[in-house]
Symmetry: C2
Subunit: 479 residues, 2 copies
């Protein structure tokens, strides 16, 4: 009983303290646990199962576009990391260094990969000789390490799981197409599967990836009005190719440098799911990503026939392709409801002796608490319909929230006031200079989230310096 109580104890409300609410949810929904390893996390079964579903769905979409999976070493020799100047400057300050193997010091120290551009380049330099060897469209699923000072489960930890795609192409155009293709794939995945609406755009030079010519990003808005970078896709042009000497013989028999891209999505998306959809009862999982989509909770389960019926209903739902469990523990129905809510299971199906007599059950949606009494003959069909409605309602609700927290500012006072007083995105014009980005960051701790592909002209002046504007930018405070 101790454990049931722990789970249903009230969590901090998100209005009172959003950060504490987040911490409570990740712990009480049993997604992660802390460890003896500072800054790292244990991803527990309920959390890892979400990641498996993310992997499964992304991997399927990747392979449809011709991606092949590989595995490269987790170590990068220091000399290899240093080959591309911008890249090493960006990453060296935050890598972990292996200096001893067994009982002996290493001749050259190795960093634990923070990202694998350098290793993929090392491979491509050996593997690519001719235009016939192109394109290379490789991806790997692995963990990476970045020695962060302050960490939070899923959002920022010293080790996290991700996929990193790395491609090499014959032409700049093909590399650009792949960069945009993967950004669109991420955006579709977020909206269709995670029910998280995103803004697609380009990072400013200040915010782009170390070594990239262009970084594209999808940005989403959390419930507290802070932004989360949710997936990035980088076009490297031939910068890495020149640093690593990756050349191929083209059809016309001339030597050319390849053009490269990389793109990644991480376990921080689990944090995004929590912060976009969660509420004061806990996690709310979009049905398409939920490891368990429905839980059958028998009422008065000791009465004859109740548990049998619960398993019968579960079989019916399973046969219809719904991921379902029966909660047959000896906890009270009230505890079970609270657990289902904390864990964010999309629907619960309540069924007791009276329901059985009336050949019905009650379906309760996690997000709206809406109750639907359904005939047992139509249970699977109705459950599937409710799950589909819930999925699309969650996206709509998240989009409405985001739009309601997206503001416009055309002068700097208004801009600062909006950032300070109205958590959310602020759309404003920008001159293109890093000085303005630096000033905005210093003044209100907001960063340029992206230069959206869908541009608007809000005014003709930079919101910060007043000089002629070049682009509209989404600004915000971010995770």
């Amino acid at each position: 009983m101790a454990k049931d109580k722990k789970m249903v104890e009230a969590i901090t409300s998100m209005e009172e303290d959003f950060a504490q609410w987040y911490t409570d949810v990740v712990k009480k929904a049993e997604l992660v646990d802390y460890t003896s390893v500072k800054g790292c996390m244990v991803i527990k079964p309920a959390g890892y199962a979400i990641w498996e579903n993310i992997q499964h769905e992304l991997d399927r979409r990747f392979k449809e576009t011709g991606v092949e999976n590989v595995y490269l070493p987790m170590f990068i020799p220091e000399s290899l990391l240093q080959k591309e100047k911008d890249h090493v400057e960006g990453f060296a300050p935050e890598v972990a260094w292996v200096t001893h193997g067994g009982l002996e010091p290493l001749q050259e120290r190795l960093c634990v990969r923070p990202t694998s551009e350098t290793l993929f380049c090392d491979l491509y330099a050996r593997d690519i000789q001719s235009h016939r060897d192109l394109p290379k469209v490789y991806n790997q699923w692995c963990s990476v390490v970045r020695w962060e000072k302050t960490t939070r489960p899923f959002l920022r930890s010293r080790e996290f799981l991700w996929q990193e795609g790395h491609t090499a192409h014959a032409t700049a155009e093909e590399a650009e197409d792949r960069t945009v293709q993967m950004l669109n794939l991420y955006a579709d995945f977020c909206e269709e599967i995670l029910a998280i609406p995103v803004i697609k755009g380009r990072k400013t030079d200040k915010e782009k990836f170390a070594g990239a010519e262009a970084t594209y990003t999808i940005e989403s808005l959390m419930h507290d009005g802070k932004a989360l970078q949710s997936g990035t896709s980088h076009n490297f042009g031939d910068g890495f190719a020149k640093a690593f000497d990756i050349q191929y013989t083209d059809k016309d028999n001339t030597l050319k440098y390849v053009n490269q891209t990389s793109w990644g999505m991480t376990t921080r998306m689990i944090g995004a799911i929590i912060m976009v959809h969660g509420d004061n009862s806990g996690l709310v999982l979009p049905p398409r990503i939920a490891p368990v989509q429905a839980v059958v909770i028998p009422i008065q389960q000791r009465k004859e026939g109740v548990l049998e019926k619960a398993f019968e209903l579960s079989d019916t739902l399973k046969a219809a392709g719904i991921r379902v469990k029966v909660d047959e523990t000896d906890k009270s129905p009230g505890f079970k409801f609270a657990e289902q809510e904390m864990r964010g299971i999309p629907i619960r199906i309540e069924c007791g002796p009276k329901d059985i007599e009336a050949n019905q059950a009650v379906i309760v949606r996690r997000d709206t608490r809406e109750k639907t009494v359904v005939s047992l003959d139509a249970l699977a069909e109705k459950a599937a319909e409710i799950l589909e409605n819930m999925q699309s309602d969650m996206l709509t609700r998240a989009r409405t929230h985001r739009d309601a927290h997206t503001y416009v500012a055309t002068d700097y006072e208004e801009f600062k006031q909006t950032v300070n007083e109205k958590p959310g995105f602020v759309k404003a014009m920008w001159c293109g200079c890093q000085e303005c980005e630096d000033k905005i960051k210093e003044d209100v701790q907001a960063t340029s989230r992206c230069i959206p592909f869908e541009q608007e002209t809000l005014s003709d002046k930079c919101v910060c310096c007043g000089k002629p504007a070049k682009k509209m930018v989404y600004w915000g405070r971010a995770y």
Copy 2:
């Protein structure tokens, strides 16, 4: 053209130099590549796709037995590694040490996990309070690092991929049952999917896992007569539980230590597939694990209708659930045949203008080269049948080879001569003392592979010292 030639250049024959043959196959079948990171490997698409199939099939079987996946940190603080005495003695000499994070030295150095017993214990010590929290049946898919001096792709590398299951149980009996259950699962997987017959048994104390009470193993025999440890399952009793203080309150309200197990299978199984089934033309993949099961090779593909027909046949096979590709490159059919053989694709389907006219195609099996002319109307059905036959023939052939290379020795001269002259397993009686194991290792470089569950009485004396025999043991030289 350069690349085609490279692939079909003759490889070293296995009779001439088995080690070189192996190296040639892993390189020319494009399973791995070497890297700038000494002792580590790149697993290329053709190799990684085999691993994905292994993962998929094992994971499915695990989950059927109630296993839940998790992810734990890749780092282990030195103090945590040292908690279980035998364990740290076994692993400390071969771990990689992280001593710096970012620009600063760490207060306590961290090893990169060589295996994760200590981390799981750390988690279980926090997570387990009551008998209601048991059993815990967790598994993780990850990479581990062991600082080996001599390395070979798949068989022994400084970093390798694996799964490691770690469980905690209320009783010793339950832990023992789980240990054996997982060993049986591995054995079934090897035989049913990889077509590799195995001997199930227990490791001697000398060969058991550092910290285990009992290690069970499945041992297989490679084509060159050397043994390969193919999967292990360990029963820890309550040794780790006592070292890490993992106690639970039982139903009778007393505090008890949990009983634990761990079990793992690695990418070395790809090495086993190569060395059990490969031949002098390259890799031979068992159909059930092959990423591509059939390749359609159009003959005279520029003639009207040939390529179209090839893709039509491919669609037919795909619809029947066969993993198929069309080789429509501009290489000659001869090159394509050699490539299919090098890559170990189980069947190729040849189809040219004359075949189309006769409404037929030719199916050629990779293992036997047997050709079957089939009517296009029965293609999918016939291909499926040939794949099934090939799968079961491969297991039979491997078993026949193993049995033909399993010898019996009842006195020490005979034993030494057999080990020296007849590569394979030697069955012999053993007194149970480590001294005899040490002597045998020194005399003929053979180790005890396992004490098989299926015991025979070959004599009543230890083959080495002549004292009363306790058990029959499989001996052999091993990878």
